[in-house]
């Protein structure tokens, strides 16, 4: 049995533990106010990185799903599932921080005319449905295959989300990153990148920890089955 690290994902979480407080400090005190929105704009430094991290986690889930379909190795299925799960958690955070930002900036908790927000909601709903699908199939080859296929279908939603943002000329939801580069000053960009790095590290750490937990549970179940004589 390979040596088990005491705290898997610990490296990632430690890194995020360095980046995130730094990002908070930078966002709260160091970076200058945004010209248009004032102090409340600062939640942007977390909201957008969390949103991008959500996309990253779902993408990781999709890549692992493709790997599963190619190799039929159950380990890829587990990674894919955990990726989507962590993505769903971050997705919830996006909606929460987004609502806070919306309330503070625009005075409403939700804005239906905002296409970027709606499309993210669609993606989020889609991946929540993933869990419904996964748990209405008995464990085994079929469940892993269906989960992978569903995850890959969702990949189509990600670029279409971005496309929808381009088409929508919504003035309400600021589009900060355009094809001509970031519409931010250098110190804003730095703060943003620190926060983004922190969020990615956090997501990676969560994925590692959840994988460890799931694998341990599978090992326990294998042992239980061996004891009961229902193993294969």
């Amino acid at each position: 049995m390979p040596a088990v690290r005491r705290f898997p994902g610990g490296g990632w979480v430690a890194l995020s533990g360095a980046f995130i407080p730094l990002a908070i400090a930078l966002a709260a005190w160091w970076v200058p106010d945004d010209a248009d929105q004032g102090y409340s704009q600062r939640i942007f430094y977390f909201h957008v990185p969390i949103a991008l991290t959500t996309y990253a986690a779902f993408s990781y889930g999709a890549v692992c799903a493709a790997a599963y379909l190619k190799t039929r190795d159950p380990r890829w299925d587990l990674r894919s599932y955990v990726g989507v799960h962590v993505g769903a958690i971050f997705g919830t955070l996006v909606l929460v921080t987004g609502s806070i930002w919306a309330k503070v900036s625009w005075g409403v908790w939700w804005d239906w005319s905002d296409r970027q927000l709606n499309v993210f909601l669609v993606l989020f709903l889609y991946y929540c449905a993933y869990f419904m699908l996964r748990f209405s199939v008995d464990e085994g080859e079929q469940r892993m295959t269906y989960s992978a296929v569903y995850t890959l279908l969702g990949v189509g939603l990600i670029p279409l989300s971005i496309l929808a943002v381009r088409i929508a000329q919504s003035l309400v939801h600021p589009t900060v990153f355009t094809t001509s580069g970031a519409a931010m000053t250098h110190d804003m960009l730095l703060t943003f990148l620190v926060a983004f790095a922190g969020m990615l590290c956090l997501a990676a750490g969560m994925i590692a920890m959840e994988l460890r937990g799931k694998r341990a549970a599978l090992r326990v179940r294998e042992l239980r089955r061996r004891l009961e004589g229902t193993d294969l």
């Binding site: 008995d138 464990e139 085994g140 080859e141 079929q142 229902t230 294969l232």
Partner: protein, 209 residues
């Protein structure tokens, strides 16, 4: 032409239920093996695994060395599977069902009439199958297999629902094909096994007994 079947430590689990545990046996090309055992012993699962409709959880089910679920198209088409259900469309007539199968299996349409005659449904070809009895559906299933010109026969309790005439027709068909196809049949009927099989494998609770 007829394939060799090999199960190598083949296991299948459905949720918490173990249907097959480390089942291993071989059916040499052109021979016939009967699978016997009580209800729930895994006979149907073995047939579905060999047909490639179900993937094993562990181990392998090989048809001429290739995993059954990964068979390439043409090889897949040589499998004749007779299960508990008719594998046909209720809203269509017997002949229409068979013509569809012939079409998909790239077989000539005139094979349909011959298949219907061989199972004793020659005069029922233009009747919709919603009106068919259990025994007639069973005969239709057999006709479906004949139309596709199989090299491998996987039969799940083929005599179920057949009256004496149907059973005789089934015996005739299997007798005609003996040696030309590989046969794996699940059955409760020892006499049937004795008539048509070169060997018998008994399953009990998912394992070879």
């Amino acid at each position: 032409m007829s394939p060799t079947i090999e199960l190598a430590a083949c296991s299948k689990r459905f949720g918490e239920r173990v249907a097959l545990r480390r089942v291993s046996f071989t059916v040499p090309a052109g021979t016939a093996v009967a699978l016997t055992g009580p209800n729930g012993s895994g006979k149907s699962t073995v047939l579905r695994v060999v047909a490639g409709l179900v993937r094993p959880t562990a181990g392998a089910a090989l048809v001429d060395g290739t995993p059954a679920a990964d068979l390439e198209r043409t090889a897949r088409g040589t499998i004749g599977y007779l299960g508990h259900r008719a594998l046909a469309y209720r809203g269509m007539t017997a002949a229409e069902n068979l013509r569809l199968m012939a079409r998909l299996h790239r077989r000539p349409a005139d094979a349909v009439a011959g298949a219907l005659a061989e199972v004793g449904l020659g005069d029922r070809g233009d009747d919709r199958i919603d009106g068919f009895s259990r025994g007639m559906l069973q005969r239709l299933s057999l006709a479906r297999i004949l139309v596709t010109g199989p090299a491998l026969l996987l039969l799940d309790e083929p005599a179920t629902g057949l009256d004496s005439e149907g059973a005789a027709l089934l015996d005739a068909v299997l007798g005609r094909l003996r040696g030309q196809v590989t046969l794996l049949a699940a059955t409760h009927d020892d006499a049937f096994a004795a008539r048509h099989a070169d060997a018998v494998i008994r399953l009990d609770r998912g394992e070879v007994a």
